[in-house]
């Protein structure tokens, strides 16, 4: 029999109660949040999912109209929900997803991977938060709650990513890679997490077992597994959509080529609205290269802490991916508390958080001025997305500084507590 931790039960219970209250006591809230550009992007919007579902259940290809950009598996999942109970059951589904995410997060926290990996043990590792507190920080983060109520499908992706990490740190590379396969099947970008995830799996396995295969064979094995998973998912989708490959172009190429320029919190839409068409391909390449470029650099520089590579990459995705939303930020903020021991080394947390809070308030205000009041324009909102991204990148850069500093102090204990200086 499973022993249920009382504190965990309390946490899950209160988080569920809060979400149920928001869902059912304020019936207009889910619709309001679903329509917010900060939460729903063209590739994750719940409204578009409903539209696709309607077409799908009426035997029209949802990928025909250019509105629906989500994976076919989701369609068959949501098609299982009886339409008379659609809205309460989806609410419960999203609450359950949040709890699953938290469960995975608690596993990650309990593995202590953040404080000491195979190759590196932080001198500050005793400074940490309890796993329940980390779970609570995720479940009661207003961004997470807003995401849950707004029901974008990115919650599925987040859940898959968190499970991939949780499986990796508990020494189950196979399930971890399967989960990542699902995540990257649902939305393309998690494919970039594959290298650090393989590193993480390898480190965990090498630590637990005496003899380990060389990393190259390990990497080849799991990379092939990853792609096999992807192909398998695609094949199933092909069957589900009646033997058509149409879905590939309206799901993955939308994420790659950015045809839908609906405003969001990211940096891409405005740039690609303004740009001359002849440069479009070039800059698409540049933007993707920029996003992908971090993977290699981080894997080399912080090789000793693969979990931190993943955390930082999640932060970078939340800033630089094509259609970012609040749910990406909430995922990054879910992982950050694992690095409690780095907080004393971070220098600009207050300013970064104040910037983010400012942007959180000003963003909706400027969007309102632009879209509803008509007294502002697109530049207002874009300026705020820049500020938002600035705040997030401050945190990413500052945490990177902190982790490098932490590693450096192990190498040079005499420099502990002294200022670093640029030479």
């Amino acid at each position: 029999m499973m022993v249920i931790d009382r504190r965990k039960a309390l946490l899950f219970g209160s988080a569920t109660a809060l979400r149920l209250l928001l869902f059912f006591a304020f019936p207009s809230l889910p619709d309001l949040l679903t329509g917010r550009v900060e939460i729903s992007t063209p590739v994750t919007s719940f409204k578009r999912l409903q539209e696709g579902l309607f077409l799908y259940t009426h035997n029209v290809s949802p990928y025909d109209g250019g509105v629906f950009h989500q994976a076919p598996l989701l369609l068959s999942l949501f098609a299982l929900i009886p339409s008379s109970l659609f809205s309460p059951l989806t609410s419960l589904l999203y609450i359950a997803l949040d709890l699953l995410c938290t469960n995975a997060l608690i596993q990650i926290a309990e593995s202590r991977e953040a404080g000491s990996s195979r190759l590196f043990t932080s001198p500050r590792k005793e400074l940490k938060w309890d796993s329940i507190a980390i779970g609570a920080a995720y479940l009661f983060n207003p961004f997470t709650i807003a995401t849950c109520i707004g029901r974008p499908i990115s919650v599925f992706t987040n859940c898959a990513i968190l499970h991939a990490i949780a499986k990796a740190v508990s020494g189950k590379p196979m399930s971890s890679i399967l989960a990542l396969g699902l995540a990257s099947y649902l939305s393309l970008y998690p494919i970039l997490l594959l290298p650090p995830l393989i590193l993480l799996c390898y480190d965990r396995q090498a630590r637990d077992k005496k003899e380990t295969p060389p990393i190259s064979t390990f990497a080849i094995k799991y990379t092939s597994l990853f792609f096999a998973t992807k192909v398998w998912f695609l094949y199933i989708s092909n069957i589900l959509t009646g033997g058509s490959w149409e879905f590939i172009s309206s799901t993955y190429s939308v994420q790659l080529l950015l045809p839908d320029l609906t405003p969001n919190m990211g940096l891409w839409w405005y740039f690609f609205i303004e740009i001359f068409d002849s440069f479009r391909e070039f800059f698409l390449g540049i933007f993707w290269l920029h996003l992908g470029g971090y993977v290699g650099g981080l894997c080399i520089r912080i090789r000793r802490q693969p979990l931190f590579i993943i955390t930082t990459l999640l932060g970078i995705f939340a800033i630089f991916k094509p259609y970012p939303s609040l749910s990406d930020t909430s995922l990054y903020f879910a992982m950050l508390p694992l690095y409690r021991h780095l907080f004393p080394l971070m220098r600009y947390t207050f300013f970064a958080l104040a910037t983010i809070l400012y942007a959180t308030l000003l963003g909706p205000a400027f969007y309102y001025l632009w879209i509803y009041a008509g007294s502002g324009n697109a530049n207002f909102f874009y300026a705020i997305t820049l500020v938002w991204s600035l705040g997030l990148s401050e945190i990413v850069a500052d945490s990177l500084f902190a982790v490098l500093r932490d590693e450096w102090e192990v190498e040079r204990p005499e420099m502990k507590g002294k200022d670093v200086r640029q030479i």
């Binding site: 907080f343 104040a354 809070l357 000003l362 009041a373 008509g374 007294s375 507590g417 200086r421 640029q422």
Partner: protein
């Protein structure tokens, strides 16, 4: 980077820098106020001008007059006859008149409930289909049956009935013209414009049976005088301080004063002699109205839908007759008819200080922003201060070697400095208690918001009285509670203050972009919050952080003087308004017009004030 960073690093540790923020904050508030007072000067304000060239105001000859006068008198007689009759009879008669003019008319019933009152009525409107248009755009001519003061708008209604008949004869309209007669000045227009955009509350507000295209502009006529008028009073404030495009206002001014030679007044400044004083007074009156954000006429309800609207009100006793008002509206409508695009050229954010002088957002926004920034600066200063370790205990009588403060040798590009260790080490901050306190105080405001928006008129004054009483003791009670539950450490005390100010600064900066005046007023009223505690001390010793008893008492009294209920009562006393009526008005605005000034009062201002008061209240 390499060049600046040592300087910046050295500056960062300069103890003088940490002493600076309170002075800087005070300076910012001062500059903000002075800035505002400079705005009416010629150097800072600008002459109004028409941005949208398509409008061509006053360029057409107006033909309204002559025999129209007789028809107008007949309509006026009809309207007078209808006064006091049941709504159904009025609507029937108005419908008949529209029909006789050859227009399709329709009606809309509505019913609102707010503060225990029921507001019912029926709007009657007719649509004149544009001979040269395709029904995609419309302009609206409105007259409310009773004006804002509750008087019968006899001339206004008769005039628009006559104008409907007159406009019908012209073949030059390229936009549909909607002639709307609302039953009152606040609920009726709101019901109509809500229903026009399918945003109405069904079934208490009926949908509109016939509609036209997108609304491009609205002109409201208000003339309840039974004699000739002297000047035209233009009312332009929308709900929540939103304003119509300045071009519409300019068009009306240019037509009335330029073409027809009428005097134009605004913000109830009947005698404007263009002095600094009068300009400042006009501007401040405009700001007060904007700050309250309530409906100031039938036009107010249109503005949140991004439909630019103004009210033309006839005031004073003079030589202008109703035909002149008619010509004025005819000319404005000819200009609106010329519009090629929705109003967008000119300013949406402006302060008017005279019919032909204004300041735009770029010039005035800094004053509210400076006031908002002062809170942020103090928040940052308190945050930095909260991270400093307490000074080592120095034995003052017997200096010993061991009690020497620890020092660090810092080298920056060849420069060496010896700095006491305490100034560079940063303590871990215990943030949970302060954050929860600030967040829960802000949620506490929701209770008052709910009570004041959902109570009946008779009980509102009592609730207010009760609230004022509770508010007197609440800070002490909360301080006592916190003292017994989790006595705040100096650091938590500073952080609590810091987060509260940070949030206030953030809210006000955001608000300044939506409703400048409200943000400025709340900012100025909350300014004392920056300076409570011991702002001028940089130390984190308990004796320096926690204010002394004397100081606590003085600050508590000072804060109670600027507490929200006291300020509200003072405002009501000053303008001679009954508190109950004002609260009922606010509840009406919340329920009907979508007014959110209350949210700012209860969920931004009051929590910030309460946090400050808790900090300085003596715990029992």
């Amino acid at each position: 980077m390499a060049l600046i960073s040592p300087t910046v690093l050295a500056l960062r540790r300069d103890p003088r820098l940490l002493k600076l923020p309170p002075y800087l904050s005070a300076l910012l508030i001062l500059v903000g106020v002075v800035w505002l007072c400079l705005l009416p000067l010629n150097e800072y304000s600008r002459h109004t001008y028409i941005s949208e060239n398509a409008l061509l105001p006053g360029q057409v000859h107006t033909y309204f007059g002559g025999s129209e006068q007789n028809v107008f008198n007949a309509y006026k007689y009809e309207v007078k006859e209808l006064a006091g009759k049941p709504q159904d009879e009025i609507s029937n008669k108005l419908g008949e008149i529209f029909k006789s003019a050859g227009l399709r008319s329709a009606r809309q019933k509505y019913e609102y409930q707010a503060a225990g009152f029921t507001y019912t009525g029926e709007n009657v409107y007719a649509i004149l289909h544009a001979p040269r248009g395709d029904a995609t755009e419309a302009i609206v001519l409105v007259a409310a049956w009773t004006n804002m003061d509750g008087e019968l708008n006899q001339n206004g209604v008769a005039l628009i009935l006559e104008l409907a008949r007159y406009f019908k004869r012209w073949s030059l309209w390229s936009k549909d013209i909607i002639i709307l007669i609302t039953a009152d000045s606040r609920a009726g227009p709101q019901a109509w414009v809500d229903a026009y955009h399918d945003e109405h509350i069904f079934p208490s507000v009926a949908p509109l049976p016939i509609k036209s295209g997108a609304l491009q502009g609205v002109v409201v006529v208000d003339n309840a005088l039974d004699h000739h008028f002297e000047s035209i009073h233009i009312v332009y404030d929308g709900i929540n301080g939103q304003l119509p495009n300045l071009d519409l206002f300019n068009t009306a001014v240019s037509v009335a004063s330029g073409q027809l030679g009428m005097r134009v007044a605004l913000q109830r400044m009947w005698k404007h002699d263009d002095s600094y004083r009068e300009r400042l007074q006009t501007m401040l009156r405009g700001m007060v109205r904007q700050g309250f954000g309530h409906s100031s006429g039938p036009h107010s309800s249109f503005i949140p839908y991004h439909v630019d609207a103004i009210t033309l009100q006839a005031v004073g006793e003079g030589g202008q007759d109703d035909m002149a008002m008619g010509r004025c509206i005819e000319s404005i409508f000819r200009s609106l008819n010329n519009l090629l695009e929705h109003f967008h050229q000119s300013f949406f954010f402006y302060l008017l200080m005279q019919a032909d002088r204004f300041v735009s957002i770029g010039t005035y926004l800094p004053s509210a922003m400076l006031v908002a920034v002062n809170f942020t600066i103090m928040a940052i200063a308190l945050w930095i201060r909260s991270g400093r370790p307490p000074a080592p205990k120095l034995a003052t009588t017997m200096p010993e070697k061991s009690s020497k403060p620890e020092v660090d040798v810092i080298q920056n590009d060849g420069m060496t400095a010896i700095v006491p260790k305490e100034t560079i080490t940063i303590l871990e901050r215990q943030m949970f208690v302060p954050v929860s306190l600030v967040v829960s105080l802000h949620f506490l405001g929701v209770i008052s918001l709910f009570i004041f928006n959902n109570s009946a008129f008779e009980t509102l004054p009592y609730y207010f009285l009760l609230f004022t009483m509770v508010n007197l003791v609440l800070p002490t009670a909360l301080a006592t509670f916190i003292h017994h539950q989790a006595s705040l450490t100096p650091q938590q005390y500073l952080l609590f203050h810091s987060f509260s100010l940070l949030l206030l600064g953030m809210f006000l900066a955001t608000l300044a972009t939506l409703n400048f005046s409200l943000s400025l007023f709340v900012g100025l009223l909350s300014a004392p919050l920056s300076f409570i505690g011991n702002p001028f001390s940089g130390s984190v010793e308990p004796k320096d952080v926690f204010p002394s008893q004397l100081r606590k008492t003085a600050s508590t009294i000072a804060l109670q003087l600027v507490s929200p209920p006291v300020v509200v009562s003072a405002v009501c006393y000053f303008w001679g308004i009954n508190i109950g009526e004002m609260l009922a008005e606010a509840a009406f605005g919340w329920k009907v017009n979508g007014l959110w000034t209350q949210v700012i009062v209860w969920c931004v201002w009051w929590p910030a004030w309460l946090a400050g008061s808790v900090l300085v209240s003596p715990a029992l």
